[in-house]
Symmetry: C2
Subunit: 188 residues, 2 copies
DNA sequence: GAGCAGATTTATCAAATGATAAAAAATCAA
DNA sequence: TTGATTTTTTATCATTTGATAAATCTGCTC
């Protein structure tokens, strides 16, 4: 049960049977239909999700314009960190782009396990460290790569993203307008 | 002793006396002269630094061009996360921009304390969480704010940065050329 | 304080990207 | 399939930013 989640954990570090059971006890499987919001803008993030399949994105509005902050694929964790760790309402929402099966984990209950299971806290720390590194690399690409370079390296790192996600979402993720993205794609 | 460091920790969570002593036992105070490298490009990051005073920056080269990834001020932690957490050599260097007193903490020894002192691991987790949130916000500003907006919000969030740091470093931090920054400043 | 080196600004032109509008293509529901 | 809606592309023009070179400015050394 929750094998996908366990396998995900194992990438970072295996957990003992009791720790796994403690986590399973607070897991709730849910299914969200395509294009539905998993979490709305303004809600405080109190749930950590694990995506078993499907695609989701975190987005926000700048001057009424929808901007995709990030994409999340099967077998990954998704949560709005700035809200989860601060307890403040998030300016961001989570939308599912393909009908998705998820595991919902109440963050309060999850954090409460840290005292009894230091191994869980350690696992979580490693997950955050990896997410942190990802964002550092993303900053690097936004800092001085051209829009075209960013598009091409996205193609390389996530080849099927283009097929599964509307281009309008990809454009804002890359920090450009949809029209610019279309122009870049036309060059080839 | 190491009161500055202890005060920094307290922002996140206070540590017990034994935990503090264990950390102090692996702390080494060092002083680095202005403009010297604290860590060179290519070195693997095995030290976590705490800046007691002065300013430092993390930088890297893209196409021979020096780019500032981030600035770090007194009373903050500085380390090259992508190397520290992966054990791989860093493409980045750390340079001190004002003669600085630092506390150097061997990362291996520090991580080794996590088993005996879960509270230290928890503290470290919280520090990483905060750093992670910072990078997420930085991505947001790079994604769709204009160079001028980024400059102005930097002025607001770090007013004295401009006086203490050469503009050429600030320009690359903002993701623009120095000439562009100069132009933006001239508008006012 | 003169001279030097590096930092910053200014000027000019080129390239990349944005804004807007309209056309074409794809998707979806009836 | 048809028609409506959304997505993507194309076109045009405006704006921003980059590249390069040169002119100032600043700080440092002697």
């Amino acid at each position: 049960m929750f094998l996908t989640l366990q396998r995900y954990f194992n990438q970072f570090q295996p957990l003992s049977a009791p720790a796994l059971e403690a986590i399973e006890a607070i897991c709730k499987p849910i299914t969200i239909q395509k294009n539905k919001n998993l979490q709305h803008i303004g809600q405080t993030c109190q749930t950590i999700y694990f995506l078993e399949n499907g695609i989701a994105r975190i987005y926000y509005l700048k001057d009424e314009i929808d901007i995709t902050e990030g994409f999340y694929f099967e077998n990954s964790i998704i949560a709005r960190a700035e809200s989860l760790f601060t307890g403040r309402p998030s300016r961001k929402g989570i939308q599912v782009l393909e009908t998705a099966d998820l595991i919902a984990i109440d963050s309060q209950k999850f954090f409460a396990l840290f005292d009894a299971y230091p191994e869980i806290e350690r696992l979580f720390r490693k997950i955050i460290e990896a997410a942190y590194i990802d964002t550092i690399n993303r900053i690097e690409s936004l800092q001085f790569n051209s829009a075209e370079e960013r598009y091409k390296s996205l193609l390389e790192s996530s080849p099927d993203l283009i097929n599964r996600v509307p281009l309008k979402y990809i454009a804002s993720f890359l920090g450009i307008t949809q029209v610019s993205l279309s122009r870049i794609r036309a060059v080839r």
